[in-house]
């Protein structure tokens, strides 16, 4: 048994905040996140609420849609990275891909990964598990 699973068993599952203005996408991401072995602690539909949730809950992971009302995913990323107390939060941006050179902009804003819609839930789960060191947990939760 490796350290990740041990940590999971000791401290409970890693926690994720999801933000997307489209409820169906939110639900889909939520499924993938849970399949990756994480616990979804908040689902928000705009950037301001997402940032507030990250500050309040200090999750291990935040998955943010790039285009959201009130505050874009990019701005949320920058704000999170500007606060040292939130250093431990891994950030993943999800984009509908209409923006130019968006990947480099996303990574420059502080995101750990930048994924483009449409995404395969299975592949998203695999990528998240890998990122969070939970490779062996896939399919074990729920």
């Amino acid at each position: 048994m490796d350290l990740g699973v041990t940590a999971h068993l000791i401290a409970g599952p890693k926690r994720a905040v999801i933000a997307d203005d489209d409820a169906d996408i939110r639900a889909l991401v939520s499924i993938a996140v849970r399949r990756a072995g994480l616990e979804v602690v908040a689902e928000e539909s705009d950037g301001v609420a997402a940032l507030e949730a990250v500050r309040r809950l200090q999750p291990d992971l935040a998955i943010l849609d790039v285009s959201m009302p009130a505050m874009s995913g990019l701005e949320v990323c920058r704000s999170v990275r500007a606060e040292s107390s939130l250093d431990g939060v891994r950030l993943v941006l999800l984009s509908a891909g209409a923006e130019d050179r968006s990947r480099s902009i996303g990574l420059a804003a502080g995101a750990d990964d930048y994924l483009i819609k449409p995404f395969s839930p299975k592949m998203l789960a695999t990528a998240l598990a890998e990122m969070m060191g939970l490779t062996e947990m896939i399919g074990h939760v729920e």
């Binding site: 169906d24 891909g97 130019d100 480099s104 819609k117 995404f119």
Partner: protein
């Protein structure tokens, strides 16, 4: 003009120096002779010695008069008219003989024809006059067949001709001088006439030129005035405005009176834009050129090239307007540049509508991708549900749904991409791309479609990988498009051949099919957005007409060429030619470059 020439003709008439007609010159002789004749009739007994000779002399004088009349009728002056005084002399000689010979009262009449003869041009006529006088005076002796009897008779025969001769010399000289003066006058007159004619024709020419100039000016003015949607501004070499059309008045808010001769064209430009442009052209700051901003504005025109460039005009009230300005030089008649013409078109609306279109396409693309993401994601969840596996039939239905969702997704991607191409924003991720891999992958992914369509799909690859510099994803997309097109337009049982070759410094990808072909008249429209060949619509081949537009844009962005050969009913070949990678592979980092940076690289 006509009044002048009539006056000129009158002046010529007044100055006429033509010799008097023979009849006029003969008139004094004739009158004097007639008077003498009258006297002889009145005092016949006293005067007439030979009546028969008198009749003869009268007849001879009649002959002289007839001759004079005849010569007067002929238009041209002739020396033969001297016959008239000659014959007159004879008549007078005979008259003198008939009225007493050497003692005749009428000897003095001889002077009249002598004056005529001696006034003729040339000294010899003096001699003729003297001889004539002598002959006339000696006639009585000749008729009586005797010599002069004494010294006084001899003297009379010599002295009178000598006196007459002296008179003849004087007359001859005077008339010579008179003729010279006449000639001078005549020459002056003809010179004057010539000058007058010349000045008249010059005046006519000037008048015609003026009419033409006025017509040309009116044409220019009406053309300038007709251009109300564009501003036309003309300046001298320093930029001082001298042409300002109604379009300029509308666009910039100043009347011609306010602008012409008072304002400079660069007054209406954003100083920052002019500065930026002069920096681009590497003008030393403020030093060598009078006005760096103006020089930047006319740089291309100064070098003889017309230039169209986007600028911002600043109206008199300070508001700004985006314009596209064509700058051309103005020349004088020696082809020297004397100024510039600035024709500006308002592009605010064009820029705005282009921006709105881009925004719209971006928004639509985003709005379409989000639901498609949901559809595809949830379909995958259904497919992968381990707890409730699907039946084969359900899986097939699911496949159809997924395939169509992907089709929609591809369409959205194409739309977004063409919008980027048309707005000039076209991101390329450049690396060294092995075309053999790109082509193989494209053929491989098209296999299932070919199989389903019953079309044979062949690939011809060389041993070399054949690398190009480019965006592997976009190049793959170009190959995919060409192959999927070929498959779509090839009926069951046909064949599609994809070949990769090296030709000189190029890599050539050819996709050849045995399909329905494209009518020749439609070949040049192939790459227009949403264009579909008539053979495509007739055969109900699905598509929206974006594939070739995108393929062409991709190939062009790679500095390549896309050619087509097609024959209706026989097949079509698309030939994609790309420049081979020229930089050594080791120095080629896998970085993302903008298209501009890529194109700006010097070819090694």
């Amino acid at each position: 003009m006509s009044i002048l020439s009539r006056g000129h003709r009158l002046a010529m008439k007044r100055l006429s120096v033509d010799a008097p007609r023979p009849s006029l010159r003969h008139l004094p002789t004739a009158i004097a002779f007639a008077a003498a004749l009258l006297l002889t009739v009145l005092f016949r007994a006293l005067l007439v010695t030979h009546p028969l000779a008198l009749i003869w002399s009268a007849l001879v004088m009649v002959l002289a008069t007839i001759l004079a009349a005849l010569y007067s009728l002929t238009a041209r002056a002739t020396r033969w008219s001297l016959l008239v005084p000659g014959v007159s002399l004879l008549a007078i000689a005979v008259l003198r003989y008939s009225t007493g010979g050497t003692t005749s009262l009428f000897s003095a009449l001889i002077i009249l024809p002598v004056v005529w003869i001696s006034a003729e041009t040339g000294r010899r006529w003096v001699a003729v006059a003297i001889l004539g006088t002598s002959a006339a005076l000696m006639l009585p002796y000749a008729i009586d067949l005797r010599w002069p009897s004494d010294a006084s008779e001899w003297l009379r025969g010599v002295f009178t001709p000598v006196v007459f001769g002296l008179a003849a010399i004087v007359i001859n000289e005077l008339s010579r001088q008179a003729r010279r003066q006449v000639d001078d006058v005549r020459r002056l007159v003809s010179e004057g006439e010539k000058l007058l004619a010349e000045s008249l024709s010059t005046a006519a020419q000037l008048e015609a030129n003026e009419v033409q100039l006025r017509a040309a000016d009116r044409l220019t003015r009406s053309v300038l005035d007709a251009v109300t949607e564009q501003s036309v501004i003309g300046t001298d070499l320093t930029g001082l405005i001298d042409v300002w059309n109604p379009g300029a008045q509308v666009m910039l808010g100043l009347s011609p009176v306010q602008a012409q001769g008072k304002r400079y064209v660069f007054d209406f430009h954003l100083a920052d834009e002019l500065d930026a442009r002069s920096r681009e052209l590497n003008y030393p700051p403020g030093a060598t050129v009078l006005n760096p901003g103006f020089s930047a504005l006319v740089e291309s025109a100064r070098l003889g090239r017309a230039e169209v460039r986007d600028w911002t005009y600043v109206r008199d009230d300070g508001s700004q307007i985006s314009v596209s300005i064509a700058v051309t030089p103005r020349f004088d008649d020696l082809s020297e540049t004397v100024g510039y013409i600035f024709v500006a078109t308002d592009v605010t609306h064009a820029l705005e509508s282009s921006r709105l279109k881009d925004e719209f396409v971006g928004l639509i693309s985003h709005e379409l991708r989000t639901p498609l993401s949901s559809i595809l994601g949830y379909l995958e969840l259904i497919r992968d549900d381990d707890e409730a596996p699907l039946s084969a039939e359900q899986l097939q239905y699911l496949g159809v749904a997924e395939r169509n969702a992907h089709r929609l997704l591809a369409l959205v991607g194409d739309l977004l991409f063409t919008a980027q191409v048309s707005s000039g924003r076209f991101p390329l991720t450049i690396s060294t791309v092995k075309m053999s891999e790109v082509v193989s992958a494209a053929v491989l992914s098209a296999r299932p479609v070919a199989l389903g369509a019953g079309v044979e799909l062949l690939i011809e690859l060389p041993a070399d990988a054949l690398s190009v510099l480019g965006d592997s994803v976009r190049l793959g997309q170009a190959c995919d498009n060409l192959i999927s097109n070929a498959l779509k337009f090839t009926p069951r049982g046909g064949r599609v051949t994809v070949s990769l070759k090296s030709r000189g410094n190029s890599v050539v990808v050819t996709v050849r099919d045995t399909g329905i072909g494209i009518p020749e008249s439609e070949l040049d429209q192939l790459y227009a957005r949403f264009f579909r060949a008539s053979t495509a619509t007739r055969n109900a081949v699905p598509g929206v007409g974006l594939g070739l537009t995108i393929t062409k844009a991709i190939v062009t962005a790679h500095e390549g060429e896309l050619d087509v050969e097609s024959e209706e009913g026989v097949g079509t070949a698309f030939i994609m030619t790309l420049p081979v990678a020229t930089l050594p592979l080791a120095t080629q980092p896998l970085t993302t470059l903008s298209l501009e940076t890529y194109l700006a690289k010097p070819a090694s």
